[in-house]
């Protein structure tokens, strides 16, 4: 050891460890993939196979490239983006309200989340769709003057708006929980250190807590999105290949028009759509995300 002082040791040249397990795994996975693809291909080619009658592959084939389906995709995309925007903005506000020191704010937010998470989103969409049964018109104005705005609910809330309201308001409730979980995940010492520097509540939240909460929020968001896009799809496709609302058809006349077919037709473009959206690995978690996760898990 002592005689090595001042002498630079030679770089290590070693034979790397072999990993035969990786090759075995690759071959097994490849075999399974080939088998699955072959089975599906055979099923599509011959509608009398086991898969055939259940999925209605021939019907799928007939309607898959029908323009109506693509129109449905556009509506779905539009609805997804808009509902997400409503959900994120309203959800963040609800989360901050929920954690607020003001008991009224916190309680209102709790009630909202409880209600919108507790009832099925389909029911909520139905409610907005049929709001005209309950409320005929919405009137906003100043009492005892003639300054009033009048709106017929059927005109104010067309089907697209009903779907957007239903999905957006519902999503906000889930979003609020995700944002809240993110905020809570930030160590309390961070808040304390920021307060000790003289930052007020808003600054602490905006500059210190939220940027760190973003990591957890984005992670949870990605998870929830997967389930979400399927929902949008069935509801967002407002018209089925026969020109009737999918919602109507899938829920009210399941026997006349097997819902399974409509779902399969819809699910194919949906999968093509949401895979690229959800499968982007790592990234997107902002600076803190980039700063932390570097070494792969072993």
């Amino acid at each position: 050891m002592a005689d090595a002082v001042g002498v630079r040791p030679a770089a290590i040249k070693a034979v790397p460890v072999r990993h035969p397990g990786r090759w075995v795994a690759a071959i097994v996975v490849l075999a399974i993939a080939v088998y699955v693809l072959y089975t599906i291909g055979a099923a599509i080619g011959n509608d009398r196979t086991v898969l055939g009658p259940h999925t209605g592959w021939l019907v799928v084939q007939r309607f898959l490239f029908n323009g109506l389906i693509f129109r449905g995709i556009l509506v779905t995309l539009e609805l997804t983006v808009l509902a997400m925007a409503v959900g994120i903005i309203l959800g963040a506000i609800l989360a901050v309200m929920r954690l607020s020191a003001n008991p009224v704010m916190s309680w209102v937010s709790w009630l909202y989340i409880w209600f919108f998470r507790g009832t099925p989103v389909l029911v909520q969409i139905f409610f907005w769709f049929n709001i005209n049964l309950v409320v005929k018109s919405i009137d906003i104005g100043i009492p005892f003057t003639s300054l009033w705005l009048h709106g017929d609910t059927n005109k104010l809330i067309p089907p697209f708006m009903a779907a957007l309201l239903g999905l957006g308001l519902n999503e906000a409730a889930y979003m609020a929980e995700i944002v809240r979980a993110g905020i809570i995940s930030v160590e309390h010492g961070q808040t304390e250190a920021a307060q000790a520097l003289g930052m007020d509540r808003v600054l602490v939240m905006r500059r210190i807590v939220l940027p760190q909460a973003m990591r957890v929020i984005i992670r949870d968001l990605r998870r929830s999105r997967i389930a979400d896009r399927r929902e949008h799809l069935v509801r967002g496709d407002d018209v089925d290949p026969d020109g009737r609302p999918v919602l109507h058809r899938a829920t009210l006349r399941p026997r006349l028009h097997p819902a399974a077919t409509a779902h399969t037709v819809a699910a194919i473009p949906a999968d093509a759509l949401y895979l690229p959206c959800t499968a982007t690995p790592g990234g997107g978690a902002g600076r803190a995300g980039r700063a932390r996760q570097r070494t792969p898990l072993r």
């Binding site: 003289g198 760190q212 803190a288």
Partner: protein, 223 residues
């Protein structure tokens, strides 16, 4: 600078501070030593109103902490006023509590820019000088997780100093550090105590590891 008279603090039924009296004069350095759980941290947190005291009087620079006295009535301060008072008191924590999403420099300039509304140029200039002073000139752009414990704590001290506080509170700044890293932090604190930072009236109330829990560390009484 700091004056406590019969200060009491309870957490539910647990009496943590039972009638604390003490006075710290400008440029004084005061250490509090006590066994774990005896309330050292709690007392320091009361001084910048991270905790509310239940009875007694606690004042910094002649003004009550968290309250304002008019005649013989006492009014609670608004949030904004509490924040303003806190901005004049620096605090260093046992677990550093650096902001992990910001670099060392950004940790230092955040509060001066957002709270004291300093220009970025002025704040950065002072931050660089402070980092240089605690021996971390070349770590300006490092994130906290890229620094050793001792380096993190030195950044944390610099972050507190960047607000040009008139009073510094150190809560066991070395107890989370490996023994060989304690020295570098204590050196920084000693230097601060000797030639003061930028304010003439700097007093410090470091709490050092208690003999009961700190083992060999308690001998290094520092500044």
């Amino acid at each position: 600078m700091v004056k406590a008279e019969a200060v009491q603090k309870n957490f539910g039924r647990l009496e943590v501070l039972r009638g604390i009296d003490l006075e710290v004069k400008p440029r004084d350095v005061m250490c509090m030593i006590g066994p774990s759980g005896s309330g050292k941290s709690t007392f320091l947190r009361c001084i910048n109103h991270l905790e509310k005291i239940d009875a007694g009087r606690l004042s910094v620079d002649g003004e009550l902490v968290g309250y304002r006295q008019r005649g013989d009535r006492i009014y609670e301060l608004r949030d904004a006023e509490v924040c303003k008072k806190r901005a004049e008191i620096g605090m260093v924590f046992q677990h550093f509590n650096l902001f992990p999403h910001l670099t060392a420099l950004e940790n230092l300039v955040e509060a001066p820019i957002r709270v004291k509304k300093e220009s970025r140029a002025v704040a950065s200039e002072r931050a660089r000088r402070l980092l240089d002073r605690v021996g971390l000139a070349e770590k300006v752009d490092a994130y906290p997780r890229q620094l050793s414990g001792g380096q993190q704590q030195r950044v944390a001290i610099a972050r507190a100093l960047a607000m040009q506080p008139k009073l510094m509170l150190f809560d066991e700044p070395t107890s989370a550090l490996d023994p060989e890293l304690v020295g570098e932090v204590l050196d920084v604190m000693r230097a601060l105590a000797e030639d003061g930072p930028f304010s003439r009236r700097c007093s410090r109330a470091p709490t050092l590891p208690s003999p009961a829990s700190g083992g060999g560390k308690s001998g290094a009484s520092g500044p």
